[in-house]
Point group: C2
Chain length 445, copies 2
């Protein structure tokens, strides 16, 4: 019987859970469209080499990979969307508009041990802007993320964009005593510092040529958090560098403030984003108290499209998964406990009094109401007790009841507004039009 359960780390979405998932996805999609991004999608599995080309062979153990029986190609379920997006951009680079603004809301897969905030199958929203360099492009994708988070009910006091810039961080590390050839290793140490035992941190720091005082400075940099509205002189002073090396941050700060997004963002020089392909701005969205993993993460990857055979094409984007976000929203009471409240309500519940005339009329009326674009249900019970059927209509959360009863002999039916209790008798021929007008008005209200 164990085989007839869902695989470990995956989810069954019953209607109430699906309604919650669609609620989040619809907010993601609307925010993307409002910000002028176009939806795309790619294959659920890709050639394994697409992922190893980007992330190295180390990623294979985190993937679900396979071959077709009798086939020779190695495939893997996608763990992230960026390689697919970069492959697609490379293939059509000559005909894409500039900038190209794409979003996607596909399923993703990781073969890791499931734990809080991490499943083996999850939905992830990705938003990318290709073909434009500079802070305006960075801010366009950040604004889109903020718009979605706001619509989900989150505030700048709930979640924070922790931001850095690879170029500025490299200059800060150089000033702290890291030699040029060790910058990559220093980023890795910065990224993994909280996961390493103190001894290993120290031995790695020594390998980077950092003496005791440089290690202290390194730790201070890693812990530096400042408002993005702070003056660059202030930021530079905190980090012990000249303001000139922070030019990329100055441009970002100006644009974020101009858009009114500075409350959502802070500089965090501990942010690296482990993935080696980021080239400029990097950011993660975290719950302010720092619980759980990142809600979202992204950054600039100006070299990736070229890596996949395309031209040089600057790009910035982020991914936001549904699992950590769902935990944060639930913690803050921003999702209904019962997702079934989010299910679409029936416009009309059809009731027959059981007479032959009514029973003959009901199927045709049902089709006409549905053809007119209304959500219509009817009872599957054998009772013809109109009181019981009205109560069933209420359980379905229907807005209107259409009662086909004794009035049918005079060519009329009863329409009952289940929200205010009012009812009226209308000619059968006008029933669908009347229902349509009522339900449109109720939807707008």
């Amino acid at each position: 019987m164990a085989a007839f359960q869902s695989p470990k780390g995956t989810r069954d979405f019953y209607p109430d859970q699906m309604a919650l998932r669609r609620h989040v996805e619809n907010i993601w999609r609307k925010a993307s469209v409002d910000c002028g991004f176009d939806e795309i999608e790619g294959p659920t599995f890709e050639h394994l080499s697409l992922f190893t080309a980007k992330s190295g062979p180390g990623i294979v153990s985190e993937l679900f990979s396979f071959r077709r029986a009798g086939g020779s190609d190695d495939y893997a379920l996608r763990p992230e969307f960026t390689p697919t997006l970069a492959r697609m951009a490379a293939a059509r680079a000559g005909t894409l508009s500039v900038p190209t603004k794409w979003f996607a809301i596909p399923l993703h897969f990781r073969a890791e041990r499931p734990q809080r905030g991490r499943l083996r199958e999850f939905v992830q929203w990705t938003v990318d802007l290709l073909g434009s360099q500079g802070a305006a492009a960075d801010c366009e994708v950040i604004a889109c993320a903020v718009l979605a988070l706001e619509r989900l009910g989150l505030k700048p006091t709930d979640v924070r964009f922790r931001m850095a810039h690879r170029g500025a961080s490299a200059a800060v590390l150089t000033a702290a005593g890291v030699a040029d050839e060790h910058i990559g290793d220093a980023f890795e140490l910065l990224d993994r510092r909280d996961k390493l035992p103190p001894e290993e941190f120290q031995s790695r720091a020594v390998k980077l040529g950092l003496d005791d005082s440089a290690q202290k400075r390194f730790a201070a940099i890693a812990g530096t958090k400042l408002p993005v509205s702070a003056s660059m002189n202030e930021v530079a002073a905190s980090l012990g560098v000249g303001a000139d090396v922070l030019a990329p941050l100055a441009e970002l700060s100006e644009k974020l403030c101009a858009l009114g997004l500075s409350d959502w963002c802070q500089w965090d020089f501990g942010i690296v984003r482990g993935l080696a392909y980021y080239t400029g701005t990097v950011f993660e969205v975290h719950e302010c108290a720092g619980r759980d993993r990142a809600i979202a993460g992204g950054g600039r990857y100006d070299g990736l499209v070229e890596l996949f055979g395309g031209p040089k094409m600057p790009a910035i984007g982020f991914g936001m998964g549904d699992v950590v976000l769902g935990l944060v929203l639930a913690d803050k009471g921003l999702l209904p406990h019962d997702g079934s409240q989010l299910l679409p309500r029936p416009d009309v519940f059809l009731i027959s009094d059981g007479s032959d005339l009514a029973e003959r009329e009901l199927p045709q009326l049902l089709m006409r109401i549905r053809r007119a674009g209304m959500h219509a249900r009817h009872s599957w019970k054998s009772t013809k007790n109109i009181g019981k059927l009205l109560s069933e209509a209420g359980k379905h959360r229907a807005r209107i009841a259409l009662i086909v009863g004794a009035e049918l002999a005079e060519g009329a039916v009863v329409i009952k507004d289940l929200e205010n209790g009012g009812q009226r008798i209308v000619p059968l021929a006008d029933a669908v039009e009347t229902l349509s007008a009522m339900s449109s008005a109720m939807m707008r209200a």
Copy 2:
């Protein structure tokens, strides 16, 4: 470079192609909701044994199957949704409403050779009604399929539901001389008759105990097509049986006619639906001229939930994939050649005249307009020529242009209706509200 292409039999959906896919999916979803079905979803991959339990070990070669590195469970990408749905129904059988009406629009996978109408990854709409026996339930799912096909622009002269009933067909085969113990094999022969060489067909028929005259009768049954509105006496006479054995068809005929769906449907005694688990009504939707594979297929599977550890639970459902449907719609000119026509149009295109004042105002206005739920874009070009920018707004298919120019010195902006060319000057403070009212009115028009 070959590795950086999408895997064989899968698709990249660029924005225009994605718009076409969403167009079809949205019609599927709306039809499902209008007919009172609730959306569900399950894992993209399941335990391999879920699929072999239902379809036998023969299905393995048609699946993409895999293990996690270091894991011992065999998984497979789902080739169909019914096993997942039956597993989910079995797990919650005690708490489900009666009937349970579910739909899903997930991705599916087949490891077969890609060909016209068949890909390795495809979208499939499934609609199922569980917990109710009889023709009313069968017709509820058929009505839902018809509603979607109508909204896609198809007519009864374009596509046809070819229907049969396993019980009635078994009685007809018995009357034609098939012994009870050979009914299963006779169904298989009926199902595969067009794929077998004549000699093999004949040798199998002989094994079923059919002599020459019985073989002719068998072929005549396989070729029998009649309107579902035909009288049962007429149907019985065509098949050489008594009308009493066709009782399930009589009930179906009555309900289909009552719903006004009889034009869409015909009896076709050659329809079996190879899958062994069907128990009653079976149907396939085909293009009327018979080109291409089935657009949809389904039937009653009253034993499947029990097979997966649930109680006895009658069930009827169908699946409709996007690939054959897309070919049929394209053949009939029912999809725009250029899917980009289906992309959401921007409500507002923001234009600045390049003055410092305008450039400062633009980002905040952009955020305010988007926060108000409008789709807003702006130019990424360096030009500040308002004529060129208006022409860019047109290329984006924007409905309205908001021009932030010289009027800003007096605290005003220009709003230009790009559909009728009219323009007016409004106070900056009223701009978002004015745009909102205009775009709502334009959307309704």
